[in-house]
């Protein structure tokens, strides 16, 4: 039955409408896996329930990650998706491609899998959606031959990702793509063979606009910033002021969160009080630019809600210069990993680990000085663990 043309009236409904249709995408592939996938989905739309399940561990030889095993719970009805694993293929930094390489990826996936992908997964990988167990190795071999490799899953370092940064953005305070590639290459082992209590994600954003949502979903968020004065082209400011699209007082000065700007023909910024929020630069890109003393703020610990509620990353290093070979950063990363790998509980993300042991103790252990920038405010509760050797300064 699985091979004959099924009726899929419910999902067909989603071929209509102005937004690109994933149903059309699935139907565009002439492939029994894709057909069964559509059938299963129709079934889910009828049943209002998913039809996938976990199963035995699957993967490619020598790797502990990169493949998510998935099985259908109605294998008799949908035999072509009985095994329907995903391969996480490590994207090139910044998601840049040539038509050539994309076609070759398609060729591989047409030959070995469902022909269906996610461009891209939420972590950043190219997702090859729907591979049988048997085809895992051959797909992997074809990928490596093309120069691609798998990304992370499980308790691995996860595939780092980044904004386009210097490749296409005037605000990048460091080379996000360069760093992403560098770290990905440096930590291939951690990416492929689970060394940690749980997953560990990196995301690199070139400036505080954070176009990869790094602060919300990376165990280590590396976000570009500057610490000197915003660069101002006063002539260009006046052009904005004279144009009809912007009211410099209302749209810029009054929207500054610290109120540290003044304008009357000349724009003055009290840079000491500027919190590098980017707003003024965002709305007057021709006139303003981040300062010249550039680097990044390193934040740690964001994650989804499971188990204690979602976390945002919080400041670990207020300012770090970001030049290859990124020695300070790598030293920091490795100190964090060492500590967390040794003392973290199973399935305890680094952010949760810090909350358990205390950020102050964590810093002590990794040899990092504490700084007031790490907190919104000092503690309000009087429950201080005084240490006797240090408390009596």
């Amino acid at each position: 039955m699985s091979q004959k043309e099924r009726k899929t009236p419910l999902v067909d409904e989603l071929e209509k409408g102005p937004w690109p249709s994933f149903v059309k995408e699935i139907k565009s592939v002439d492939n029994p896996k894709a057909k069964d996938l559509l059938g299963v989905l129709e079934r889910s739309y009828q049943d209002k329930i998913g039809h996938w399940k976990h199963g035995g561990l699957v993967g490619v030889m020598g790797y502990g990650g990169g493949v998510i095993g998935r099985y259908n719970d109605l294998p008799d009805e949908y035999p072509n998706v009985a095994e329907f694993h995903t391969l996480r293929v490590n994207q090139p930094s910044g998601w840049f491609y040539t038509s050539d390489v994309l076609r070759k990826l398609c060729d591989i996936w047409e030959e070995h899998g469902s022909g269906i992908t996610n461009m891209h997964g939420s972590t950043g990988d190219i997702i090859f959606l729907g591979c049988s167990t048997e085809e895992l190795e051959p797909t992997f071999a074809a990928l490596t031959e093309l120069g691609f490799d798998l990304g992370g899953s499980g308790s691995c370092m996860r595939t780092p990702s980044c904004c386009a940064g210097m490749a296409r953005c005037e605000w990048a305070c460091y080379d996000t793509m360069g760093l992403t590639h560098d770290l990905t290459m440096e930590y291939q082992d951690e990416l492929h063979r689970p060394p940690f209590p749980y997953k560990f994600k990196f995301k690199m954003a070139g400036c505080p606009n954070d176009c990869v949502a790094s602060v919300a979903r990376a165990d280590l968020s590396i976000i570009g910033t500057w610490r000197d004065e915003i660069q101002i082209d006063q002539e260009a400011v006046r052009e904005y002021a004279n144009s009809s699209e912007l009211n410099v007082l209302e749209d810029v000065v009054e929207r500054c969160p610290t109120g540290c700007m003044r304008y009357n023909g000349q724009l003055e910024i009290d840079d000491e009080n500027c919190v590098k929020c980017m707003h003024c630069i965002n709305v007057m890109p021709k006139a303003l630019a981040p300062g010249k003393e550039r680097g990044a703020t390193i934040l740690i610990g964001s994650k989804a809600p499971i188990i204690g509620g979602a976390l945002l990353s919080s400041v670990l290093v207020p300012f770090l210069e970001m030049e290859p070979p990124y020695e300070d950063l790598k030293e920091l990363i490795e100190a964090i990993w060492d500590l967390w790998a040794e003392h973290g509980k199973n399935r305890e993300r680094v952010g949760e680990f810090i909350q358990r042991v205390g950020l102050g103790n964590f810093c002590d252990e990794i040899g990092l000085d504490v700084a007031p920038e790490m907190v919104i405010q000092p503690r309000t509760n009087p429950y201080i663990f005084y240490e006797m050797d240090t408390a009596d300064y």
Binding site: L10, V11, L14, K16, W19, P20, S21, F22, V23, E25, V29, Y45, D47, K48, G50, H51, H54, Y63, N90, P92, G94, F96, Y97, S99, D100, L102, C106, E110, I116, T117, N118, M119, S122, L129, P138, A141, A142, E145, G147, M166, R168, E170, A172, M177, H181, D210, S214, V215, D251, P257, C277, H279, P285, A304, P305, I306, G308, G309, A310, R347
Partner: protein, 361 residues
């Protein structure tokens, strides 16, 4: 299998991005001066050298087949010397040097069903997850809800101006793959029944102690069923979080009638003006109604419209609500404020209002 005889290589990492960069980028890498939005979906970046790069951004359904990827490759060859990229929100961007090719490209993309837009004060492509397409714990479909939503909101992608960027996200369970917890509007799949325990498979599939300790409320107790080790769930203590299901596939939560989605508003991740914020609960539950989830689509559209009509320029959803206050938000949106809106998890007390600073309605 042609590759099987070759030496097996591992740990080569991804290809270096440099080989995929168009010359205009290679030459001006790190030397961009400013950008402008030429029209919906079209950016031009000007380098210090004066060179210009035109980016044309089109929506994709993220779930992409080799068919459409090959189509994009063809379009790239025709219009952008073979160069293109994807964005962090799953749009495709064609990287042009010839401004005359912009309109023909837009026309072709339109003809193929890929609208151009998502730049600036717009709704961009929603971040989303697997749903019933691939994940076992999904309380709702992902691609389907997003498609239904965006069919209604497409104008906000292609042109219609909003006060600021409006980021939508969908996640199909509380694992929340994606930055759902910090979105202007997030739709989140929720279970509302206690897990059903498969006492047969549990001993082989799961570690009982791990399963017990996975529960944030301590609702799971080890027990024995028919003389075999298993667990039980104290119903009143369960908040349907699926933590147990995450570590133990023998504790399923999926339920056709009870599953559905909740709606969250006012999160953001950028540092622009306001610090990053979590999304806050707006609607505790709406039913799964495939294929078009009308209740969900209506609710989100309603929120977008009220925001669009009332927020000031540059004000993200959460900034707008903060300015008017939550009581006013509930009044304006006609949403019911229920006890579910009041946090009762670990840090609940910190969300209580400990001042008289509110507006009397």
């Amino acid at each position: 299998m042609s590759t099987s005889v070759k030496k097996r290589v591992t740990d080569i990492g991804p290809p270096h991005y440099e080989q995929f960069l168009p010359p205009v980028i290679k030459e001006n890498y790190g030397k961009w001066k400013y950008h402008e939005v030429l029209k919906p979906g079209v950016l031009v970046h000007t380098a210090e050298s004066g060179e210009k790069l035109y980016s044309v951004r089109a929506a994709t359904p993220r779930l992409a087949s080799i068919h459409s990827i090959r189509l994009f490759a063809d379009l790239a060859d025709e219009f952008s010397d073979g160069y293109l990229r994807y964005t962090s929100r799953n749009n495709v961007e064609f990287l042009l040097t010839d401004p005359d090719k912009i309109d023909p490209l837009i026309a072709k993309l339109g003809a193929e069903g890929y609208p151009v837009g998502g730049v600036g004060a717009a709704i961009s492509n929603p971040v989303h997850t697997q749903g019933w397409i691939h994940c076992h714990s999904a309380a709702s479909d992902a691609s389907g809800v997003v498609k239904a939503l965006m069919d209604e909101l497409c104008d906000y992608f292609t042109g219609q101006k909003l006060p600021a960027k409006l980021r939508l996200a969908f996640a199909c369970c509380l694992n929340m793959c994606g930055a759902v917890h910090c979105s202007d509007i997030a739709v989140l799949g929720v279970h509302r029944r206690v897990p059903k325990i498969n006492h047969e498979t549990i001993r082989t599939q799961c570690e009982i102690p791990t399963t017990v300790s996975a529960c944030p409320t301590g609702a799971i107790r080890p027990t024995s069923v028919n003389g075999k080790q298993s667990v039980e769930v104290v119903e009143e203590q369960c908040m349907f979080c699926a933590n147990c299901y995450t570590v133990c596939p023998s504790m399923t939560l999926n339920d056709p009638e009870m599953d559905g989605v909740s709606i969250w508003v006012g999160g953001k991740v950028s540092n622009a003006r306001h610090e990053p914020m979590f999304s806050k609960l707006a609607i505790p539950y709406l039913p799964n109604n495939p294929p078009r989830w009308p209740e969900v689509v209506d609710a989100v559209k309603h929120l977008v419209e009220i925001y669009a009509a009332n927020a000031r320029r540059y004000e993200r959803m959460g900034e707008w609500i903060e300015r008017i206050g939550w009581p006013k938000f509930f009044e304006m949106t006609d949403l019911e404020f229920t006890k579910y809106h009041i946090d009762d998890f670990s840090h609940a007390g910190l969300s209580f209002r400990t001042s008289l600073h509110f507006r009397h309605q």
